[in-house]
């Protein structure tokens, strides 16, 4: 078990090194001529106006929350789906009930208009 994760660990280290090496290589090769005009923020040629880090609308938050709900649901359902072939019918129905409750929540959010883009 841990034996397998040694490979994953080595791969993660390699995966971290690859982009670092590429960016490092570019750092060695590239010209470095900084210029205040050049390092201006690119907003279609206009001078940036006001703060970038402003308050956003709550809509995004709802999407993230629905995503979280479904993610947690998936974590519960993965072990269920894994043993599905050994389960009796009523245990499968339990899983279906689990999904149906979430589908009801989705329908609720839909009916309340929480899924509309505003």
């Amino acid at each position: 078990m841990l034996e397998q994760f040694i490979f994953v660990g080595v791969l993660l280290v390699v995966a971290l090194f690859l982009p670092v090496v590429l960016i490092g290589l570019a750092w060695l090769l590239r010209p470095k001529r900084p210029n205040p005009r050049k390092s201006e923020i690119y907003e279609c040629g206009l001078q940036p106006h006001g703060e970038n880090w402003v308050q956003f609308k709550a809509q995004y938050y709802i999407f993230a929350l629905v995503f979280l709900v479904f993610d947690v649901e998936a974590v519960f359902l993965f072990p269920w789906a894994l043993v599905y072939n050994w389960l009796p019918l009523y245990a499968v129905l339990e899983g279906v009930l689990f999904i149906a409750l979430l589908a009801a929540a989705l329908v609720y959010a839909w009916q309340k208009g929480a899924l509309e883009w505003m």
Binding site: V8, P19, I23, S39, F70, L106
Partner: protein, 416 residues
Amino acid sequence: MESLSRFLAFLADAIVNIGDWIRGLLLGAGLADPWVSLIMKAIGAIVVAFFPLMVVIFLIWAYRKVAARMQGRLGPNSSGTWAGPYGILQTFADAIKMLTKEDIRPQGIDKIPYNLAPILVVFASIATWAVMPFGPKLIGTDLNIGIFYILAFSSAALVVFLMAGWSSNNKYATVGAFRSVAQLIGYEIPQLLAVLTVVMVTGSLRMQEIVGQQKIPLLFQLPVTAFIFFLASMAEVNARPFELLEAESELVCGYFIEYSGMKFGMFYLGEFMNSTAVAALFATLFLGGWRGPWVEQAPIMGTIWFLVKMALMLLVWMLIQITLPRLRIDQMLAFNWKFLVPLALANLCIIGLVNKGITEWFPGGVSAWTRAGILLMANVGIFLATWGILAALERREQRRREAWRAAQVGEVEVSA
């Protein structure tokens, strides 16, 4: 003659044999066994990490060629600025250009997240390749959580886009990041539910086991699931109909607008790597991965089949990407939440019940073909029902529109 047959036997399972040869060499050099296995793992990891890179080098060229051919314009070719026969050196030219470009750091950026984001994008997409089955015995490591590991990394990578967008100190980048993450988290749900359906039918999270179960490729057993997975993964890699991230006309370039030089290159690379990973995942989950004729005699054929299926999926991805226009963000989110997610939920429940029903109905057990046939019929049923519901909704919408128009006309007549 004998050496030829030995050579053929070597070739039949070339990659595994080369691995065994290196292992023998290291053991012969007097290294202790744990060190040899660690070195073998490191070599394997480097090969696995470089595989998507190699594919992407080819893919960028192929994409530009196919796009040029389909849109009736000149792509990279050997005339004009010389880029090798058929323009095959184009990607290398691009890479050299990116390497030698100045790295412009805009003012007011949040330095650490800004520099970390391009690294983590590539990191996350390479990490998913750890459990991809390249052949009957060729796999980075066959984790018992297999497919869940891939989903976990692609989910954890979402934050990187927010990091890049937010640290760039640019309004377009921030809006772009928030929008594309809103899209990505949305489409992750149908993808998850499709994978759950696959896990349910194959009864395993192990990638090799999922491939092993597909005597009949799952595409022919669960076409609706494959369809959901395909659309959701198109959106996950920001392919054209779902491409908001690079909406040039609206958000200039999405969250990586302020990146230049190699850091921009990393995002570019990460995007193509993700497309490759998604194509490989579709080939594994629905097209039977390395399964195909002659695999038992020559395991190397398995790798070839895998590559062929992956290339096929990449071609489909390109054709859709090149042909279709972009959706608006509200249409895209509505399509996800009001079509794909309900369909995926219904699909999961129905397939679960039907498949269990087959087992309950035939206590003696059924052949794989019968089961596949019944599942296919259930899929046709789901498809027809979805079609019917959509058509009914469309008719209702049309009636409402006509009624509204009639009311308008009536008012005009009255006022006249």
